[in-house]
Structure formats: C-alpha cells, structure tokens
Symmetry: C2
Subunit: 364 residues, 2 copies
C-alpha cells in the first residue's frame, strides 16, 4: 500500500493520449515538440521517445538541465530569456541543440549580447493571449528584434513561436477553433513576410486545446502541446478531451462524513491538488471530480459530488442525497489542472505498483 494520498497514472490512457497526438502530428506533417512541463519526468519522456519523438519543450532552465541530463539533445525553452539565466543557457548550449525565445525588443536587448554559444532563437508573438510576446502586427518591433539577432553571429533566427493560451478560457470547441484559425492565420502571414529574407524559418504553435480539437494545421511547422499527456477536468470542460482521457487521479481516503452538512472530509488538500478550480453549472466552485476507486482503477466521475473547498491537507466533498462511500474508502480525485497537481505530488504511481519520479524528487 502506498502512502496516501498518492498520484496514480493510468498508463494505457496516458500512452493513448501520446499516441493520438503523435499520429495527428504525422498526419498533418507537423513536428511534435511536446511540452514536458506537465509530467516533468524523464521516465514518461521515454514514452515519447519510443514513438520517435526526439525534441521537446520546457518552461525553465532548471527543466532544461533535467531533460538534457536525461538524454534530450534538442530542447526549446518556452519562457522569455531572463538576463540572470544567460550563463546557464550558454552552458547548456555547449551540450545540446538549444532554442530560446525573446518576447519583445526590450526583453531581447537585455540579453542578446550575453549569449555566446550557438543558440536557436524564436521571436515570441502574441496572437491574443495577452500574456507575453510582441504584438504580431508590430512589424517595426519585430524587425528591430530580427536585426539585433543578426548582429550576434552565434544566434540563429529560427522563426516565430506563440502560445494561444486564451483557448484555456474558451467555453466551447467552436470558440477554440475560432482562436485556432485566427492564430494560425497570423503565423502563416508572419512566415510569408519573413521567409523571403530568412527562408529557413518555421512557425511553432500549439496549446493542448487547439492541438486536440483542430484538424487544420496548414502552414504550421511545429506544435508544442503539453497538458494532453494527462489531460484534466479543465480540458474536458473545454472539450479537448472526455473525462475518459484523463490519465491521472489523486487517490485519497474518506476520513469523515458529516451527514447534517452533507459533506465528507478527504485527506487531499491544496498541497496535493493545487488551488486551481472551475465553476460548475450550478454556480458552485470545484477543485476536482470525484470517482470511486477499486484499488486499481477509477470509475466514472460522480456528477452529484464535488470538491467544495481545500485547505492545506483537508478536502471537503459536498454531496446531495446519500454519500455513496464510508469512512476508510478510497476515492480518486481527477485534478482540475494536472500540470500543477503533478508538480505538487512529485511522483507518480503506476497500476503495476512501480513509481515514476518527477523533477521534484531530484536535486534540481
């Protein structure tokens, strides 16, 4: 018996998710450069390698070092370069084929002359997410960035990269597809404009909702979805997946039941699930979906239960009618946002009883 709570991974679902995305990439002639920030695990990364995937995306320099040490030799750091990281980036670029991104002229100017190794550079463009990246219509700023890049002979301008993360706020697959069409249209125009002077540039795209839902990627060279490896409740709500595709659940015990308040206490809190939540149709907030657990696999989500609140280690499940479990039963909680849950849990159990470590359990 594992210590409770633990994070259980359904390997079949996970490998199915990877396989579908890999096949979709082949079908659409896209390079799949999966984002590894969701699983943060060298062992799960191997499941990608088994399908012939040899490049990946990460969100930090620390994560780059972790995956470089695990044998990944072609990595894009999809977070704008910070001047404090240039030494570590230069050191990594001596070992592996490394791409970095700059998100504006001022972001670029701060670090561009400090990069001393052969490094690929993407210009991050904002296609509507409004988080980071240069406005795609700001040709003047993009031109300034390209010119500055060319003054450093060690840097190779690789093209344009974007994260259309506003799909995460979409309320329907139609809305995701609308964002998707707008985003790829922007990237296609950018590439057409800049490839005359830089014929080898590519455009790199791909959040999990777009890559899961869309079927037209014409003009795109590379996709970088990450969350799809596990999916989660948020993705099922957006329509990127069904709840059958969610590959991870936190296994936890029912500790107490309060029949008067129609609430149960579980040993599963904010340090396990994270505080990410979604709004339910009834106006309530939930921090996870509740499923029965038979010791090996979890059942369908029980729609009449929801995780009403979380404190550090307590979770409160609200129910109506009868609570279908008793004190000491195990439940499986499907996370709202699997990336944050996996980051918190630090290790993943498989149904065969083995344990997969993530970066969290290593000294990075």
């Amino acid at each position: 018996m594992h210590r409770l709570p633990y994070l259980l991974l359904n390997t079949d679902i996970c490998k199915g998710n990877i396989d579908r995305m890999a096949k979709k990439a082949i079908l659409h002639k896209l390079t799949l450069r999966p984002h590894f920030k969701t699983h943060q695990s060298a062992q799960i990364a191997e499941w990608f390698r088994e399908l012939g995937i040899s490049s990946c995306t990460v969100s930090s320099v620390k994560m780059t070092e972790y995956f470089a040490n695990a044998g990944w030799s072609d990595i894009t750091i999809a977070f704008p370069v910070s001047p404090f990281e240039v030494d570590a980036i230069n050191a990594l670029a001596k070992r592996i084929s490394l791409n970095v991104i700059f998100s504006s002229a001022s972001n670029l100017l701060k670090s561009v002359n400090l990069l001393t190794e052969n490094i690929g550079v993407f210009i991050e463009v904002d296609v509507g997410h409004n988080r980071s990246g240069v406005d795609h219509e700001n040709t003047r700023e993009i031109a300034l960035m390209v010119n500055q890049l060319e003054e450093n002979p060690k840097l190779m301008f690789r093209g344009f990269i974007t994260h259309a993360g506003h799909t995460y706020k979409a309320k329907s697959t139609d809305e995701v597809l609308k964002i998707h069409r707008e985003s790829i249209s922007i990237l296609i125009k950018l590439k057409a404009f800049w490839k005359e002077s830089h014929p080898d540039i590519i455009v790199s795209y791909g959040d999990t909702p777009s890559c899961s839902i869309a079927d037209d990627f014409w003009g795109i060279d590379e996709i970088r979805p990450g969350n799809f490896v596990f999916y989660d409740v948020m993705q099922s709500q957006i329509g990127s997946c069904t709840t059958n595709d969610i590959a991870v659940a936190v296994i936890c015990p029912v500790v107490d039941i309060n029949h008067d308040r129609q609430e149960a206490v579980i040993l599963c809190g904010a340090v396990h699930l994270s505080k990410d939540s979604i709004n339910l149709p009834n106006g309530e907030t939930t921090y996870g979906m509740v499923c029965a657990f038979d010791g090996n696999t979890w059942g369908k989500p029980l729609e009449e239960l929801y995780v009403k609140s979380l404190s550090q280690e307590h979770g409160i499940i609200a129910y109506s009618g009868n609570f279908p479990f008793k004190v000491g039963d195990l439940l499986a909680i499907l996370p709202i946002h699997s990336c944050l849950t996996v980051d918190l849990m630090g290790e993943v159990k498989l149904t065969d009883g083995s344990t997969i470590q993530t970066m969290r359990q290593h000294s990075y």
Copy 2:
C-alpha cells in the same frame, strides 16, 4: 547569486514573530504548541526550541516522521486519523509522545481499536468553521467517543481540540475577536462538563488570526498557531499582522514589460506562489503584493501594482501610470498564503546567503 525565483526569509522578522507569540503564550499561561506545517523545516523549528518550546503540531504522518527525526519528541497530528495510517502512528508512538485527533464517532470507530501503543487522543470539535470535528453541542456523540476511547487501555483521552479556521474569512479584527470569544466560550464549557470525570483534560485552540489579535485566553490551555511564523498578505488583510511582519517573499526578475497593456511579466508563477488569491478593494484579484528589492531586503508593498494572473511559471503584474522597474530588475513578491508558497518552494534562502531546507527537499 541564487537561482531565480527563490524564497527569501527575513530572519529578523521571523524570529520577531516567534518571539512575540512565545511571550504572549507565557503572559497568558498557555502552552505554545506551534503548527509546523507553515515552515516544514527542522532548522526553523530550532528557533522555537531556542525559546524553550518543546512540543509542536503537524498536519500529516509524514510531517510527524520528519520532525521526530529532527528530535521533536512531543507532537500532535492535527488531522483526523485515517485507518490507513495506524501502522505508521503506532510505530511513531513507540519513539515519541504522540497525540492524534478523532473528528467524529465514525472517524473514531474506524481506527480506535487498531491503535496499539500509548497514544494521547483529542476529540476535535467544530466551533463554527464547518470543516471537520464533531458538533460541540452533540453531547451524545462526544460521550460515545469518550466511552469508546476508554475501552482501549493504551489510549489516553487528552481533551478537546478545535481549529476556528473561519477567522481566515473574517473581514475585520472585530470579526476575528467575535469568533474567538465564541470559540473559547465553547471550549471552556466543554472542559467544565468533562473535567469532572476526566480531571486532566485540556483544551487546545488557536489559529493565527485569533492568537495574533486576541488578548483574552482565559480557560484555554494550549494554542497551536502556525502561519504567524511568516505571516502573509492574507493575514495582513485580516489584521493579524501588518505587511511589515511578513517574513518571506519570492524574489524574481522582471522579464518583460508591455507598456500598451500596462503589464509586466515576471518569472514567478503558480508553481512558486500557489494559486491562492485575494480580492482587492477595486474588485480585481491579486496573487501577491509587489515590492522593490535591493538584493538584500525588500521595500514597502507598492499599492499601485498587483499580480493579476499566474500561469505555471509566468506571473503578470498590472500597473497604472509608469512601471517603476525595468527588464532585469529583481522584485520581491509577498505571498497571499505563505504556507502554500513555502510548501511549493521547498527551500528558503536567508539574507546571509545560506539555505534552509524544508521537508520537500528531503526524501519523505
């Protein structure tokens, strides 16, 4: 230079917070059994020991093992016993003086006969927080629990414990004091009723808002605040502290600035700060308070800036007027909820350059 972002602890503020609470406990003749779930660090625990504090509270069995290994020999696990934990609890009770809590008759009945070592037991009562614990007015259920406890000769009924966590939702110090008065009045009545048959019982109380704000603890034996060691923005909003008492901040760089949107990107996301947030008077949500940082200490929170959103590693600061920093500057972000931030960060840097490890960095 440390890797960014990192968690910086102002030792003076932290030791001042500990010292004030220790003195308050002495003044009111209370046992201070601090909750160590906030810092989760054997090294910070030593600062309590230096003031003569020899007992502590924890929130998990894993945390009990960690602090038992660090030499703490009198520990209360302030989370209702789960039947899956009895072996570990029995093993711990052979090594240290251990107290556990039961939160209802059904919670108790599931495990009470599985405890085979000398263990102290508190009955958790609910005084209005409505998270866990038996209704304090349910004398029949409490009597059932006491009777069941007495059937196991290894268990010693130690008294009643509560967490008046509804103070965390209070909007003013007056509201905290109202909850405090109600809560201690309930505990005093319970003790008076049960001490005739059990003269050695105590009542154990104490969330950070009550223990920080109140000045009347008559009738209470023990307090268990935890968060006060670092405090945070939420506690300053409640009135438990001022922002001058907040002892930890995440140090992170400004990565980019978008003058059009009046937003800055920082390398500080949900995997650093946690997704805990508070509402600002202007209706916006913030995930932290922003301060200047000179490389050693942080300044006053800048009220005109707020952390508008967090994704996994990105934080977005919104500002009005001019942004008083440039790309590459370091900022200090005061966390909304320090317990979750410290849990995520896993280690704490001191201004002398040394590093304090938490449980996260150990193989527990």
